[in-house]
């Protein structure tokens, strides 16, 4: 039976983890059940930010953006920092924005309150007067998930790591001092360490070794439009239930437009809904009317992997050698550069250079994050 030091299950966040492990010269194999990396990551909007209300999220988001900027120096991953514009429609949200600004600034982020006049300079036609407060962080931005995943893929292989595509983990159990992983109900391999980064399927993987992870998939949908000349740079986020929507123009000129509509039940579901199209038209043109002229070229569904408190579950577990990088609540792509680095540190040294203990598996899940 083939023996491997570290097996990473799932090629989304797992790609970053495998990349940093390979960089350290660790014998790592990345197990991906599809023929390509990151089914969930590929479906994301490709935006990155550090504007959060949770200190760990702020730090990980910020460091990840720095890492992406470094990647961009090596090759074009379509990374740019056009900022994030967050809109508060209610006094409650405005109040928490104000608190967040303080917190975010304490981590060195240049977050600004912006007036409705400034908003309309930035975004033509946005109904700025309907918002009580808006914050803008120029540090935030975007990168292309496909190019970033491909960057990881090539570098994992360059540094001697392995990637096994079309390799679904069908059984996993502990046998003495190591794990036995069964792939596609056939082949078996031995691994010292297993990292579960299986996104929507992570819960099932954890169950195989008796660990109950409280994460669940929430379907989110995205449309992308045809390409037009640059209109504005920031990602705009509207948080309300009625009009909630987030959208960003990509460097190729297309707009990526998303909204979080309630979906029941919470299960893996890649089928796009018609309701979304009906809703997104209204919501997107309400925010930026001129988008009404754009042709929708694609519409797809992916998943946020949610947790009860809206914070990721990352790090060691009571089971020695079994690590989690799951429940990233829609931020997998934007956190993955730093998370990959920290996980590699944790696995090889038992410590992390940045404190992410608040994301540990064993915790109180009842205190929710506001800027999900």
């Amino acid at each position: 039976m083939q023996k491997i030091d570290v097996a990473v299950i799932g090629g989304g966040v797992g790609s970053a983890i495998a990349y940093y492990l390979a960089l350290k010269g660790i014998d790592v194999v990345l197990l991906e059940k599809e023929a390509f990396l990151g089914r969930t990551t590929r479906a994301c909007a490709g935006a990155v930010r550090a504007q959060f209300s949770d200190p760990t999220s702020i730090m990980v988001g910020k460091e990840s953006i720095k890492i992406l900027a470094d990647f961009q120096k090596k090759e074009d991953i379509k990374f740019t920092q056009g900022g994030y514009l967050l809109l508060a429609h209610s006094s409650e949200l405005a109040k928490s924005f104000k608190e967040n600004i303080k917190l975010q600034r304490s981590f060195g982020l240049e977050v600004e309150e912006v007036t409705s006049l400034d908003i309309n300079k930035m975004i033509p036609g946005l109904p700025a007067s309907e918002y009580l407060l808006a914050t803008f962080c120029p540090f935030d931005g975007q990168a292309n998930p496909f190019l970033v995943l491909d960057f990881y893929r090539r570098n994992i292989l360059n540094y001697g790591g392995k990637i096994w595509f079309k390799s679904e983990v069908t059984r996993l159990f502990r046998d003495g001092g190591h794990f036995i992983i069964e792939i596609n109900q056939k082949q078996r391999i031995k691994a010292e360490v297993v990292v579960n980064a299986a996104g929507p399927w992570a819960r099932e993987i954890a169950k195989m070794v008796g660990i109950e992870v409280p994460s669940y998939p929430e379907r989110h949908e995205i449309i992308v439009t045809e390409r037009v000349a640059p209109l504005f740079e920031p990602m705009i986020v509207e948080f309300s239930d009625e009009n909630g929507c987030y959208l960003q123009q990509k460097l190729d000129g297309s707009f990526v437009i998303c909204a979080s509509l309630p979906t029941v039940p919470n299960k893996i579901n890649f089928i796009p809904s018609f309701k979304f199209i009906q809703e997104i038209r209204r919501r997107a043109t309400r925010l930026v009317p001129v988008l009404g002229y754009l042709t929708i070229v694609r519409h797809w569904a992916g998943h946020y992997i949610m947790t009860p408190d809206g914070k990721p579950i990352v790090g060691a577990t009571p089971l020695p050698g079994f690590y989690l990088a799951v429940g990233l609540c829609g931020h997998g792509f934007m956190f993955s550069p730093m998370l990959g680095k920290l996980m590699a540190e944790l696995i090889t040294t038992g410590r992390t250079s940045l404190d992410i203990s608040s994301w540990i598996f064993k915790r109180d899940y009842s205190i929710p994050e506001i800027l999900k």
Binding site: V228, A229, I271, L291, G292
Partner: protein, 651 residues
């Protein structure tokens, strides 16, 4: 293109309105200029409404969709028929040629007229609602079809039964210059010419000699567009023999094992370079030829438009025989998703006749599955439709379809040998008889059905070759105008000098009494004849009777105006100056090549009369002295003599 300031508009789908402002778009569209207009325009979206329930939605109003609608509607189903065009009929509306097939299923009728017949039936059904200019934008969760109705209103439909008849789209070819204006798909050319009466060009090269390419060439000629050549990468013509014969007799060359290499021109197509291919379809170096054309039409096959099937989650199979990815379907045309049916080209690239049968089958079965109609009658209808489809497909031209469907159903198909012996030549002393040029088994039988005397026989197998019984024929000639393939000619032998032939004619007519040049099956000059009679039938195929020399009468397939201004250069082979010039302009630069291409200087006189003329034309055309041209090959004998000459003298 930019239309009224809005960027990225597909103008080919945009209706022309008075005052419309169409501008060529440079670079990516700029939305910032539209910001003011947008606010008002996009403020009226309604909140999501619940989906509209309906029995059956049929997507696509071509032959399959229309037929499905008719059958389902006849059983009382509430049907919404959706099409994205502004009129129904699909590809039928641009088909000006007569269809093959069974007389019971519109054979011998032009596509555009079949569309009208089907439409009349649909409109008579009280439970059918037609949504035109409406796009089905997606097959969404919970079996909801999202429809952009009238290009305005986004609505959700939740039908119990769904019949997808979305047809197919044309394949593109990769070659440098393929985006130049002037490079068209065959379908686009047909739309422009046959629907909008717009000539897409003046002189064309067609890529692909399947039925579409051959039919297109014929329609180009009807529209007054010159067809320089049809190139075909395969070593044989894929289309029907009769379609090939129709264009051959109008002088259109089909270049086999040849493909397009590039389109020439800066702003638009000014020419095309074609190249011969070897056994492995690799270009043969040095075989490039240039054509001066302003139109390159691609007729290189179709791919089923299966997007909605993919979205629906239908099981899909890649079956090259059926045109690519096709939705798996059973013999009732139902996909792997219960209640979702397919019909027509979407279920495998075939033809309108089978699309109609498949559509009818899907329509009946879908309505039946919703509990409509009488059980016994439905079962009978279904069985009879299946039987008709099987009969239609029993010939060799449908073998790939049967193979493809068997592959899809994972059934084994017994190899079938197609034996269609050519009909024996029946000796007859009749002076009035027909010539049947129909040597390829295809599913078609109008000739048998129209003959009032039963002198043409096909039999139960609609694919069988027609068989002429001279003694039963009274020479009425009704078959000449009825044959969809224009493959029947009526000969009337008068005496040893003069005879008459009656031919079907759908090109430019000349008045009765006109002296014309008559042409053979390759469009080559045969001699001089006279138009003695023209009859034009309601189906718009004319029947022209020509008086010609009895020696050539059986070979006459067409005619053209006498070219008085085009002198004959090679007297033996009757080659005219224009033919030699054409060959030189397409690359021939020496007399030996000309001999090979246009067959000049190879007659009885061995070039004694014409060689000097041809050399002179060459030197004029190539602007060089005669001595600079490649030398003449003078082969023995220097005077022609008969093989038996010596022997005859001795005896």
């Amino acid at each position: 293109m930019e239309v009224d300031g809005i960027p990225n508009v597909r103008v080919c789908k945009e209706r022309v309105k008075p005052g419309i402002n169409v501008v060529r778009q440079m670079g990516k569209g700029d939305l910032s200029l539209l910001a003011d207009r947008a606010k008002e325009k996009f403020s009226t979206f309604s909140l999501s409404t619940s989906p509209q329930e309906v029995d059956i939605v049929v997507v696509g109003g071509g032959p399959a969709g229309l037929s499905a609608t008719i059958k389902a509607g006849e059983l009382g189903a509430k049907v919404i028929l959706i099409d994205n065009n502004w009129k129904l009929g699909g590809q039928l509306v641009k088909q000006t040629h007569k269809f093959f097939g069974s007389q019971r299923h519109y054979a011998g009728i032009r596509g555009v007229e079949i569309a009208e017949l089907l439409l009349k039936k649909v409109k008579a059904l009280p439970t059918v609602d037609i949504w035109l200019e409406s796009d089905v934008v997606g097959f969404y969760e919970d079996r909801i079809l999202g429809v952009l109705r009238n290009r305005k209103e986004l609505v959700a439909l939740r039908p119990q039964g769904i019949i997808l008849a979305t047809g197919a789209r044309e394949n593109m070819l990769a070659f440098p210059g393929n985006t130049l204006p002037g490079v068209y798909g065959a379908g686009a050319c047909q739309t422009l010419m046959n629907e909008y009466l717009v000539r897409p060009g003046t002189s064309a090269l067609i890529v692909g000699a399947g039925n579409v390419g051959l039919i297109l060439a014929y329609q180009f000629l009807q529209a007054g567009i010159e067809v320089k050549a049809i190139v075909e990468a395969q070593s044989k013509v894929g289309g029907y023999y009769v379609h090939l014969a129709k264009v051959n007799r109008l002088g259109v060359p089909v270049l086999l094992k040849t493909t397009i290499m590039r389109a020439l021109g800066k702003e638009k197509v000014e020419g095309a370079v074609v190249v011969s291919l070897d056994e492995e379809f690799k270009p043969l170096e040095g075989s490039e030829r240039e054509f001066s054309v302003d139109l390159i039409a691609l007729a290189v096959g179709l791919t089923p438009s299966a997007e909605l099937c993919w979205q629906a989650g239908c099981g899909m199979n890649y079956i090259p025989e059926l045109g690519g990815y096709v939705p798996w379907h059973n013999e009732n045309m139902e996909t792997t998703i219960k209640g979702v049916y397919v019909a027509g080209d979407l279920s495998g690239i075939e033809e309108a006749s089978t699309a109609i049968l498949e559509g009818e089958l899907a329509g009946v079965h879908c309505a039946y599955s919703l509990g409509l109609g009488d059980e016994k009658e439905n079962e009978e209808k279904i069985a009879s439709l299946k039987n008709e489809l099987a009969l239609f497909r029993q010939g060799p031209s449908s073998w790939h379809i049967l193979k493809g469907k068997a592959k899809m159903l994972k059934k084994t198909l017994e190899q079938k040998e197609f034996i269609y012996p050519p009909p024996p030549e029946v000796k007859s002393t009749k002076k009035r008889y027909i010539l049947l040029e129909c040597p390829q088994p295809i599913p078609c039988n109008p000739c048998e059905k129209v003959c009032p005397r039963g002198s043409i026989k096909i039999g139960d197998d609609i694919n069988a070759l027609p068989y002429f019984i001279p003694d039963l024929c009274n020479g009425c000639g009704i078959c000449v105008s009825s044959c969809p393939g224009l493959a029947i000619f009526l000969v009337e032998e008068i005496d040893e000098n003069i005879s008459k032939i009656t031919i079907p004619w759908e090109q430019k007519l000349l008045p009765e009494g006109t002296r014309v040049e008559v042409l053979d099956s390759k469009g080559k000059y045969l001699g001089i004849g006279e138009i003695v009679k023209i009859r034009t039938f309601p189906d718009r195929t004319s029947v022209v009777t020509l008086k010609v020399n009895s020696l050539i009468v059986k070979n006459v397939r067409g005619f053209r105006e006498k070219r008085l201004d085009d002198p004959i250069i090679c007297r033996c082979n009757e080659i005219r100056k224009s033919e030699i010039l054409e060959a030189i302009r397409s690359g021939a630069s020496d007399i030996n090549t000309l001999k090979g291409i246009v067959d000049c200087c190879t007659g009885l006189c061995q070039g004694k009369t014409c060689q000097s003329l041809v050399l002179k034309i060459l030197s004029e055309e190539l602007k060089c002295n005669i001595e600079e041209l490649a030398t003449v090959t003078a082969r023995p004998p220097s005077l022609p003599f008969r093989l038996g000459e010596e022997f005859r003298r001795e005896s």
